[in-house]
């Protein structure tokens, strides 16, 4: 399939090839979860993908890490179309990115140190001493050097995420994906994880993609933001534009008002009225057997 970059409006420097390029992505499970999604992420930027529960943002992330295959559309990482790659080529791409899962997804049968060491052992020819040093460096970066011998079951939620992050950066990835990094954390720990994400982006120069619905966190870390709704990309824009929408008064423009309601976390607005009204009469008539 041919990709048409001009069909998508991006506010990015001209001429630079995006690191991640998603075109017309469609995925259907029992309903259409992704409905023609487009997205470009450029080198070194932090992109936050947001949206309510069930909007398709986690599904989009799973496509980006090649864990799901799309029904149609294209996903390019580093200029390579993921759909056309065989297993080996796909593994080569996977070595170039890291992901922090919502739960941390540490391997529970291994210590924290062994978790971080695993990708190094499997994908590099480094000797054990060097790997030990590397593991300590990575753990120090996330402030977890003291936990090298602990088992995942002994860690708190925030510590699990830090350790998972250390494993994600073990192979010095060029892209880091985060799935709901603030979920289940208290506000202070959540802010610490945000700070860590920004530090890593700066120190390692990695491209960062974050999927979240925590707006405080999103506005803290984002360079650009993308809003997904019902499997469609509503808006992709720099953070400042989203801040302007959030702080402005309602304009009557449906899309902007919907985004505003989401960003502010208002209980009334286009998002909720749509949810409330759709199919109500049919439902009542159906229940009455008419």
């Amino acid at each position: 399939m041919t990709l048409q970059p001009q069909s998508v409006a991006t506010n990015q420097p001209e001429g630079e090839q995006p690191v991640i390029r998603v075109r017309d992505l469609v995925k259907t499970f029992d309903r259409r979860v992704l409905d023609g999604v487009n997205l470009d992420v450029h080198k070194g930027e932090t992109m936050v993908i947001m949206g309510g529960s069930g909007c398709g943002k986690s599904t989009l992330l799973r496509h980006l890490i090649a864990s799901l295959r799309p029904d149609s559309g294209g996903i390019e990482l580093f200029g390579q179309d993921l759909i056309k790659l065989d297993h080996e080529q796909l593994d080569n791409v996977r070595r170039r990115f890291g992901i922090l899962f919502q739960s941390g997804a540490l391997f529970n049968s291994m210590t924290v140190g062994e978790n971080v060491a695993l990708p190094l052992r499997e994908h590099t020819s480094l000797d054990d001493d060097t790997i030990d040093i590397m593991v300590r460096i990575k753990l120090e970066l996330v402030g977890m050097r003291h936990a090298v011998h602990l088992m995942p079951a002994e860690l708190s939620g925030g510590m699990k995420k830090r350790a998972g992050l250390a494993r994600a950066i073990a192979l010095d990835p060029e892209i880091l994906f985060y799935d709901e990094p603030s979920a289940g954390l208290d506000p202070v720990t959540s802010a610490q994880i945000d700070q860590l994400m920004m530090d890593l982006a700066k120190k390692l120069g990695v491209t960062t993609v974050v999927v979240t619905h925590e707006m405080d966190s999103a506005f803290r870390i984002a360079d650009r933001m993308a809003m997904l709704d019902k499997g469609r990309m509503l808006k992709v824009a720099p953070r400042a534009e989203f801040e302007a929408i959030r702080d402005a008064d309602p304009t009557g423009d449906f899309t902007n008002d919907l985004i505003r309601q989401f960003l502010r976390g208002d209980s009334t607005g286009p998002l909720t009225s749509r949810r409330k009204n759709s199919g109500y009469e049919e439902d009542i008539l159906d229940a009455a057997g008419m």
Binding site: R62, I65, A66, S67, H87, L90, D91, N92, R94, R95, F97, G98, I99, F101, Q102, S103, A105, L106, F107, N108, L118, P119, E122, H123, G164, R167, A170, L171, D286, G289
Partner: protein, 275 residues
């Protein structure tokens, strides 16, 4: 009721759905087996994929060594039971001395492999399914894939190989324990007609084919148990409840598969080996 009447669910529909489900299941298992075999050979014969003998050893200890005690216990009792059950029936014909011949044939050909397999499906199969299922729920499988490690190579291959090898080794132990159990019963209860010359009669009766056909079957059982366990584990959906279901279904499907395989192999050996 609305205007769209729901179609009645005929018995045939349900049978058809079940049959299709069965085909899908067997198909999924076959693909898993093919993938596991491919990764085993790649691990053994190519340099780029390491074989990970340490993981295999860990699994062999977990599957085999830890169930050794139970296999010894159960199979000794099985030997005692057959001896006590057969002796009165044989005594009617004055043939109680043949207890050892019967225990030898029944134990080495079938009871050694099949009872060990049932023990192992509850012991190792269920725990493998629960372990892999929990890994699915806690996103560990996705995490493996994300760091470019194939779950089949990393999890399935060592578990399948370990179960296969340990099932065969445990069957050797089981065969001996059944024979020993019979001897214990003879010695303590059945009297000298049975226990004098017990081992001589058994070794005259048994042929090498009785031994190796049993081991072939036990290898097949080991393969079935581990593949079903891994398959069920990897299919887990929906949290802790899904893990519980996978564990139960592993034991159920394993026992059904073991018995079905036993029928097939018994028929094959009956025609080609034992006659």
């Amino acid at each position: 009721m609305g205007e769209t009447e729901e179609k009645p669910d005929f018995v045939f529909n349900r049978i058809g759905r079940r049959a299709l489900g069965g085909f899908y299941y067997v198909g999924g298992m076959t693909l898993l087996l093919a993938s596991a075999v491919t990764w085993t050979f790649r691990g053994l014969f190519t340099r780029r994929v390491s074989f990970r003998p340490q993981a295999l050893a860990e699994q062999m200890i977990r599957v085999g060594v830890k169930s050794l005690g139970i296999v010894i216990l159960v199979q000794t009792f099985i030997g005692i039971i057959i001896a006590l059950q057969m002796e009165p029936a044989l005594a009617e014909w004055g043939q109680q001395a043949m207890v050892s011949n019967i225990i030898g044939v029944a134990g080495f050909r079938m009871l050694g492999p099949i009872i060990t397999a049932v023990v192992l499906s509850g012991f190792a199969g269920a725990s493998i399914a629960a372990e892999i299922g929990t890994m699915v729920v806690s996103e560990e499988i996705e995490a493996l894939e994300a760091i470019a490690l194939n779950p089949v190579r990393f999890l399935v291959v060592p578990r399948v190989l370990a179960t296969l090898i340990m099932m065969i080794l445990l069957t050797v132990v089981a065969d001996l324990m059944i024979a020993l159990g019979g001897y214990v019963a003879a010695l303590t209860v059945l009297g000298p007609t049975v226990h004098q010359g017990y081992w001589d009669r058994m070794s005259t009766q048994l042929m090498f084919s009785d031994f190796y056909t049993g081991l072939i079957m036990s290898g097949v059982f080991g393969l079935l148990i581990s593949l079903i366990a891994c398959h069920e584990g990897l299919q887990v959906k929906g949290g802790a409840e899904g893990v519980g279901k996978a564990t139960t279904m592993t034991v159920v499907y394993s026992i059904v598969a073991i018995v079905m395989a036993a029928v097939v192999f018994t028929a094959i050996f009956y025609v080609f080996v034992w006659n």
